[in-house]
């Protein structure tokens, strides 16, 4: 299994190298510390598994935006956390990581956890920390689906922080129509609240600027 380690922290990279050195079949192909370096490596090599440090989880998002989707889907993406951190687990889930590794202390432990991830016996979606929160796994790697031009304007205004009543005033439609449209957009995009919709839209726009 060809592995890429991405972390700007030397300590994290060194720890992973030490642990992986005793994991059978694991071969560290490259070490990177930024999104740019990671994208370049992924363009050159067929990587099976990317292990990404907690401080640079955006790397996974950038790769999904800039690389061939088939290549990305063939790979496994794992977030490496130094400690149990619910915000980081949520972030990894929303960014489309397959799972998280929380500070494995021995090679045996790491090998067991990696085997479970590779064999799809566990995933971030079944992480116990996420049971009690409303998370949409892979939320930010999605393309937002909109019905018509009014939906586009509605989501734009939502992202600008307007409430439903003011959105209706701006678009010249009733609040009933605004809310019915919002409910429909939440449903077709598999989202559960308006914040997710607004954030997904803003991130899609930023990705468009950066692409």
């Amino acid at each position: 299994m060809d592995i890429l380690i991405c972390s700007p922290l030397e300590e994290t990279t060194a720890k992973l190298e030490r642990l992986l050195s005793s994991v059978g079949g694991a071969r560290i192909v490259e070490r990177t510390s930024t999104s740019h370096e990671t994208i370049e490596v992924l363009r050159r090599h067929e990587i099976d598994l990317s292990i990404v440090g907690e401080s640079v989880l955006e790397v996974g998002l950038a790769a999904r935006r800039l690389l061939n989707p088939e290549q990305i889907d063939r790979m496994l993406w794992v977030a490496f956390l130094d400690r149990v951190s619910m915000p980081s687990v949520i972030k990894a889930a929303q960014y489309g990581y397959n799972d998280v590794l929380v500070a494995p202390s021995t090679s045996t432990e790491l090998a067991r956890e990696l085997a479970e991830i590779v064999d799809h016996r566990r995933s971030v979606q079944t992480n116990p920390l996420l049971k009690s929160v409303d998370v949409v796994p892979g939320l930010y790697v999605r393309q937002i689906a909109l019905g018509d031009r009014t939906d586009e304007d509605l989501v734009e205004l939502l992202g600008l922080g307007l409430d439903d009543r003011d959105i209706g005033l701006a678009l010249g439609i009733s609040i009933q129509d605004v809310r019915n449209r919002l409910a429909n957009l939440l449903e077709i995009n598999g989202l559960s609240n308006r914040t997710q919709l607004a954030t997904l839209h803003i991130r899609s726009q930023l990705a468009g600027w950066l692409a």
Partner: protein
């Protein structure tokens, strides 16, 4: 002295006699969660309601088909605000 009045609506009253669209979306107090309902029939109409409600209606949730009652504030044939009451399971 309150001018509040409550009247049972006529059985002949059609939903579309009151609103242009029987489908409306209720929003939780936090303004986050949106649930769509369809008005089945109006039960009461109010005037001078202290909370501004104009009607009590039987509604059905689009996704779950569960029936509830809802206070509605209808302004210019539009459901301007709603409050969902007990759910009949």
């Amino acid at each position: 002295m309150s001018d509040f009045e409550s009247r049972v609506t006529s059985p002949e009253l059609e939903v579309l006699d009151v609103v242009d669209n029987p489908v409306f979306t209720d929003v939780t107090e936090e303004g986050e969660t949106y649930t769509t309902y369809r008005i089945i029939r109006f039960v009461y109409e109010f005037s001078g309601h202290p909370q501004g409600w104009t009607h009590l209606a039987v509604v059905i949730a689009n996704r779950t088909d569960t029936e509830s009652e809802a206070f509605l504030r209808v302004i210019d044939r539009v459901v301007d605000e709603s409050y969902i009451l007990a759910i009949d399971t």
